[in-house]
């Protein structure tokens, strides 16, 4: 949830409900998907993040849409539970924007 900021020069405005500061965060290295299906088990929307992420990775956006990438609520449960540390939310967000962009054309 929320939007990561790349700079400290961002104003705090009325609508800002909270600020989270990550100290000494190590961005974990992404490993291969081992099909453990923990993302499928935890997804509150009943999606299959492992399949969608592979479609997005291979630029197969029509298939990603078919598997329900637009229904993702970006809660982050899948990425949290992923033992391979795959940034699934990142992939799914990118997939969503690409599906939208392609459908507008």
């Amino acid at each position: 949830m929320g939007i990561a900021q790349y700079s400290e020069n961002v104003p705090t405005i009325k609508g800002t409900s909270g600020i989270m500061v990550c100290k000494d965060t190590v961005i974990p290295e992404e490993g291969p998907c081992v099909r453990c299906a923990s993302c499928v088990d935890v997804c509150p929307m009943g999606l299959m993040p492992t399949e969608i992420y592979k479609f997005v990775d291979n630029k197969n956006f029509s298939k990603a849409k078919e598997y329900g990438v637009l229904d993702c609520i970006e809660c982050g449960c899948c990425a949290y539970s992923c033992p391979s540390r795959i940034p699934l939310v990142h992939y799914l967000k990118f997939g969503k924007s690409e599906v939208w962009r392609l459908s507008k054309k």
């Binding site: 949830m1 929320g2 990561a4 900021q5 790349y6 700079s7 400290e8 020069n9 989270m20 990550c22 965060t25 961005i27 974990p28 490993g31 291969p32 998907c33 081992v34 099909r35 453990c36 299906a37 923990s38 499928v40 088990d41 997804c43 509150p44 929307m45 009943g46 999606l47 299959m48 492992t50 399949e51 598997y67 329900g68 229904d71 970006e74 982050g76 990425a79 949290y80 539970s81 992923c82 033992p83 391979s84 540390r85 940034p87 939310v89 990142h90 967000k93």
Partner: protein, 334 residues
């Protein structure tokens, strides 16, 4: 502006279980059986296991080097493959056999298909199937009697494993007597506690059960495959005509090793929840079919291999139902 901050999509914190931790947990769950098998079969079991593990690690490193990938032998997956393959070998096999099996498992079944996460069949079982097809005599005759027991689990017969005996009782004496002896309580006890001959890691049903339940509780192994497998197996062993009784079938052979540690392999089992039920039930049905009507006395490894091959199809046809999907919406509109 001094410096830009690192930006990534949420979440910015990660769960505790990662791949190497999960592999370590599975290895820990297998350790009791391993220690017990060293007690049963002596140092030979230890040598075979160590040779198998070392070959796996070396082959993985060589293959990853040749394919120009990052060398990831520390994640424990090669160690686990070696351990599981050794668990599937009779303790009396010549010491070069695990080397060939491990090399096949890692080079052909795993790395040539893309390494961890991309192999379509369980490497350890592929290695076993390869050895079984190439050196059937070594794989089915080189049994050792366990310490303080007999190979068959019953007194007087020392040349066949329990499942062999059940399939061909006529070869070893009066069939009715042997079958009666196999199904009585002392034999079942021997099977449960592991005082029988068999592959290195499969003898003690009790220790494998403890290890398997430990993995289910910490959430590494999925209960759907285990319940589906055991459920369909128990039901069919109860219903179909077979010489052994239910408990005999449940505790004999490599069933528990297969159910808890092989069928539940992450990479080669379906990702959907419904698919995992189908996968488990399919394994159970195939195991009992091979045991009763097949040529081999034991069917666990081939049933799992067959279902591994079906995994992509199962995944394709059992998509998860998306919360509030189109079908549900149409019904509401009506």
């Amino acid at each position: 502006m001094k410096e830009l901050l690192a930006v990534s999509a949420s979440p910015h914190t990660r769960g505790k279980i990662d791949i190497s931790l999960a592999m370590k947990m599975v290895i820990i769950a297998l350790l009791p059986s391993f220690i017990f098998s060293v007690h049963l079969f002596g140092l030979r079991a230890l040598y075979i296991t160590l040779i198998s593990i070392i070959t796996c690690i070396v082959c993985e490193a060589i293959m990853q080097r040749m394919l120009g990938k990052k060398i990831t032998i520390t994640d424990g997956s090669a160690v686990l493959t070696g351990l599981l393959l050794a668990f599937n070998l009779p303790p009396g096999v010549p010491l070069w056999l695990p080397v060939v099996g491990s090399a096949f498992a890692i080079i052909f079944a795993k790395q040539l298909f893309g390494g961890l996460g991309y192999n379509f069949i369980n490497p350890a079982l592929a290695g076993r199937a390869f050895l079984m097809a190439s050196w059937p005599l070594a794989m089915t005759k080189e049994w050792l009697a366990p310490a303080g027991g007999t190979l068959s689990g019953i007194d007087g017969i020392t040349s066949a494993t329990p499942l062999n005996l059940l399939q061909n009782p006529g070869n070893y004496g009066v069939p009715e007597l042997i079958i009666k002896q196999l199904n009585n309580i002392p034999t079942i006890k021997n099977l449960f506690f592991g005082k029988i001959g068999g592959c290195i890691g499969e003898t003690s049903a009790l220790l494998l059960l403890i290890g398997g339940l430990f993995l289910i509780i910490i959430g590494i192994v999925d209960y759907r495959i285990v319940v589906g497998y055991l459920g369909s197996f128990v039901l069919l062993a109860f219903v179909l005509p077979t010489n052994g009784n239910l408990l005999f079938h449940l505790f004999s052979g490599g069933l528990f090793l297969g159910v808890f540690f092989m069928a539940t392999d992450w990479v080669t089992s379906p990702v959907t929840k419904k698919g995992r039920w189908i996968f488990g039930i399919g394994c159970g049905v195939l195991t009992i079919i091979i045991r009763i009507w097949g040529g081999y006395p034991e069917g666990v490894s081939y049933s799992i291999l067959l279902m591994n091959v079906f995994t992509p199809i199962i995944d394709r046809f059992t998509k998860e139902r998306v919360f509030g999907d189109r079908k549900a919406k149409k019904e509401v509109k009506k």
